[in-house]
């Protein structure tokens, strides 16, 4: 980040006064000059374009089936008919024909919460050692782990599935039984670790060395330092990465397709929705309501925790 040398400011007397005494007023002036009306208009157009698709879907999900299939959602402004029927339909555990989304919704939670916790704990343990451990080849190993981030998931799926079903099975006993969440937890943890280690390392490395040194002098071992000092101090980083990991896992489809088997006991809601799209692509009353059921959690997380979300993004985005 470049900074302007002081003497530059001296060349601009009126700026110097503003900069030293009245920052807000200067910002205001800059703002007035720079914010042209055309730019604002362009911004509003982009914002509207970006919002309309979601808005249309939201409106549609509350319209009666015949209306959704009969005409466009913009007709609600002349013909106001709304219903909760669609939501009741997709959530109810009816026959095999029913979308039964509530069950899949629970699966999503059951996959995502442990998946996120495992990644955070194992990731921060490794990150701590990469930041504060002393051993040979540390930097090279760390860069190797970072580079793993970019091995496409696709490359790992087939062998990992074989590993779960063949190698980790002794007779009838499966270490990670299929038909449970275990395989998904482990798969998600593995795929999340490289980025987790990298981001958490960046944060943990910034913790002042004196704090850790002082604890060491007092005779604290690594486990004490890790749980008593590192974890509490790294909470902001853990929170923001945790939110991200949570959203990624919630929105995942590929890993679920490979490891879940697809039944109502394990498969997440994204997988069910993808299925509904394929088999009943014309049933818009179910797809619109279903899509919104799947979005409730991510949107709540997004709007509720926006601050951490953005901060986490910046930590990840500004790594260059």
């Amino acid at each position: 980040m470049s900074t302007v040398p002081l003497e530059n400011k001296d060349l601009l007397p009126d700026v110097k006064d503003d900069a030293t005494q009245g920052r807000p007023t200067m910002q205001k002036r800059v703002k007035q000059k720079l914010t042209s009306r055309r730019a604002t208009a362009a911004a509003v157009i982009i914002a509207v374009l970006w919002t309309i698709p979601t808005f249309g879907l939201l409106i549609s999900s509350f319209r009666p089936e015949d209306n959704i299939k009969g005409n466009g959602w913009w007709n609600v402004f002349s013909d106001r008919q709304f219903t909760l029927e669609n939501y009741a339909d997709v959530l109810s555990p009816g026959g095999s024909q029913s979308p039964n989304l509530l069950s899949y919704f629970v699966n999503s939670l059951a996959i995502v919460i442990p998946g996120t916790i495992f990644t955070l704990v194992l990731g921060s343990m490794a990150a701590y050692m990469f930041a504060w451990g002393r051993f040979r080849g540390k930097d090279s190993l760390f860069i190797f782990v970072f580079a793993l981030q970019i091995v496409p998931l696709q490359m790992a799926l087939i062998p990992l599935l074989q590993l779960f079903t063949k190698v980790l099975t002794i007779g009838d006993f499966q270490l990670l039984p299929s038909g449970t969440y275990a395989q998904l937890w482990v798969a998600h943890t593995i795929f999340g670790l490289p980025l987790a280690i990298f981001l958490l390392h960046n944060f943990i490395a910034e913790i002042p060395g004196e704090v850790i040194e002082a604890a060491r002098v007092d005779g604290a071992g690594h486990s004490t330092i890790f749980w008593r000092i590192i974890i509490p101090l790294a909470t902001p980083a853990l929170a923001s990465f945790g939110i991200f990991q949570f959203l990624w896992l919630w929105n995942d489809l590929l890993v679920a397709l490979v490891f879940s088997g697809g039944g109502a006991d394990v498969a997440p809601i994204t997988q069910r929705l993808a299925e509904l799209q394929g088999s009943r692509g014309g049933e818009w009353q179910r797809l619109t309501a279903g899509a919104f059921v799947s979005m409730i959690i991510p949107l709540a997380v997004f709007f509720g925790l926006q601050r951490y979300f953005v901060r986490g993004l910046l930590a990840g985005g500004l790594k260059g």
Binding site: V4, L12, A19, M26, V30, K33, T40, A42, A43, I46, A47, T51, P53, K69, G70, N71, V106, N107, A110, P114, L122, M125, A126, G133, F135, D139, I143, F146, L148, I150, Q154, M155, A156, I158, P159, L163, T180, I190, G221, H222, S223, T224, W227, L253, T270, L273, Q277, G278, G281, W284, L287, A291, M295, P298, F303, V310, L314, G316, L318, G320
Partner: protein, 321 residues
């Protein structure tokens, strides 16, 4: 209800087992003999993560590389899968589409995101305007697929349209179109969805970078009589170059791996497939794990330059420290 209790129990057991493993590691690490304690502690902390990575990423990547040289029944076929990829029309379409995706998405998403970030910088209601464009980031690709299939929905010309795009065509006196079926334009309509999602990411990161530009520089440029465009070109762009590179590379990687959008909107039919989707189709649907592996390997090779570039950057940073 019983169902939910069962699932809850599974989660509790899973968490308990995990806690037990971690507790055991901590116990061993604390009780380690004085000599070599440091080494045992380091190993205890690193081992779980490194073991999982070795088993789950390094080993599979090597195995996939070998698998790409085998045929339907696991027999060794040399480079046949790669020959197939670069000669068969359907595979070539896949490669072509991936190239189109990887050029258009990072470019347009970053450009629109940057423009938007500049436009709303210090405007009234900046936070709300940001949230609107950023929101698609929180929506799953599957959800986005449904949203956009609804926008592209097609009904015959004699019926009322339910898709917004076709309604707009009708309002302008045009025939409605099958946006997702007509190659080759359908690929561009899928790409629009990815741009819709990624623009928010570009916008947030670049907006933060713009806010980091020292006010003095902007003010100096303004006093020198620079127009808004000149300020943008000569001050804003050079100052946020680092962030811009990061945004473009991140979106590039995401785009190379794009799977869900294609899978849910067209399943890769009508000449819209991309490498990541074709890999899934070949390996898990068509019973051709060798071809699937070959496609995965190509994906890896496409991402490789980005890894090397980023790893170099990282090494440089480490040296500075």
């Amino acid at each position: 209800m019983e169902d939910i209790a069962d699932k809850g129990l599974q989660v509790v057991v899973g968490l308990a087992v995990f806690a037990a493993i971690i507790g055991l590691i901590m116990l061993v690490v604390d009780r380690a003999p004085k000599s070599g304690r440091e080494k045992i502690q380091i190993a205890g902390f690193l081992a779980p993560a490194l073991l999982l990575l070795a088993v789950g990423l390094v080993f599979p990547a090597l195995q996939t590389s070998y698998l790409s040289l085998t045929g339907r029944n696991g027999e060794f076929v040399g480079l046949d899968n790669f020959v197939w990829m670069f000669t068969q029309p359907e595979a070539l379409v896949t490669l072509r589409n991936t190239v189109i995706w990887v050029i258009l998405v990072p470019l347009l998403a970053s450009a629109i995101g940057l423009a938007y970030a500049v436009f709303i910088d210090r405007a009234r209601g900046e936070r709300a305007l940001k949230a609107l464009v950023f929101m698609p980031m929180a929506i799953s690709f599957v959800g986005a697929g449904i949203i956009w299939r609804f926008v592209y929905a097609y009904k015959g010309p004699e019926q009322d349209q339910i898709g917004l795009f076709n309604q707009i065509l009708v309002w302008f006196g045009q025939e409605p179109k099958q946006f997702l079926l007509d190659a080759p334009t359908n690929t561009f309509f899928l790409i629009a969805v990815m741009i819709w999602i990624q623009t928010g990411f570009a916008m947030v990161v670049l907006s933060a970078a713009i806010k980091g530009i020292p006010t003095e520089i902007v003010e100096a440029a303004r006093l020198d009589g620079a127009s808004a465009w000149q300020q943008f070109r000569n001050v804003t762009i050079p100052t946020i170059r680092g962030s811009l590179i990061v945004v473009v590379t991140t979106i590039t990687i995401g785009t190379l791996k794009v799977f869900d959008i294609v899978r849910t909107m067209t399943a890769g039919q009508y000449e819209t497939s991309v490498v990541a989707n074709e890999m899934y189709t070949q390996a898990f649907r068509a019973g051709e794990p060798g071809r699937g592996a070959a496609l995965a390997l190509i994906l890896f090779l496409m991402v490789l330059p980005v890894v090397v570039y980023n790893a170099r950057l990282l090494r440089k940073q480490k040296e500075i420290r």
